[in-house]
Amino acid sequence: MGGLLVTLKVRYFGQLQNEAGCSGETLETQATNVAELWRELAARHGFTLEAKLIKAAQDDEFCDWEAPLASAEVVFMPPVAGG
């Protein structure tokens, strides 16, 4: 924590969209990695799914939960349910 304030786009899919009330947002954060950003957003939106069920992506590629915020857009996804 205590990193620089950065501006990010966040995108949500599936039930995260319903819970956030939007498909994405632009925000400023001091989070330095994906996990920190998730905790911040989960607190704000009251996401009901556990963090370990959530997948994240940067640059349209899956990324680790501990990955640094290295991209201008971070995507959060609930468990997939295709087919």
Binding site: R11, F13, G14, Q15, Q17, N18, K55, A57, D60, E61, F62, V75, M77, P78, P79, V80, A81, G82, G83
Partner: protein
């Protein structure tokens, strides 16, 4: 050929799967919108995708299948948007010299699609509650 596709069009209207004349076996799987889910009557359903990543991940699955099994051609498509009852949500088609590989690869591909490709469904139940997953 050997492509994963996301589309809003009906999968039933996809152009025919082109199969080389060396393929003795074509195995296909169609996943369809059922009229019920866990005991509740479904009247329609829509799928949303994270399209940029869904297409990449779907393609990776097909490429992995082509490495794991001796296949002549594979194709998979997943529909997005609103689907009616009985319509296909996903199709997987596998052409191979022998049927053993075809059945195994087709089964594996659909399992991987369901486990890995970022797609979500909203079911609209006839008892009028909507569930996102």
């Amino acid at each position: 050929m050997n492509r994963f596709v996301l589309t809003q069009e009906r999968l039933e209207d996809l152009q025919e799967f082109k199969v080389p004349v060396s393929s003795g076996s074509v195995v296909s799987f169609w996943g369809r919108v059922r009229n019920h889910n866990e005991g509740r009557p479904v009247h329609s359903l829509d799928y949303s995708a994270y399209p940029e990543l869904a297409v990449k991940e779907g393609q990776r699955i097909l490429d992995e299948a082509l490495k794991r099994w001796q296949l002549d051609a594979v194709r998979a498509a997943h529909r997005v948007g609103s689907l009616g009852l009985g319509e296909a949500a996903v199709v997987v088609e596998v052409a191979s010299g022998h049927r053993g590989e075809g059945f195994e690869a087709c089964r594996w591909i659909i399992d991987e699609i369901k486990a890995r490709v970022p797609l979500w469904k909203n079911e609209h139940y006839s008892d009028s509650i909507t569930t996102a997953s």
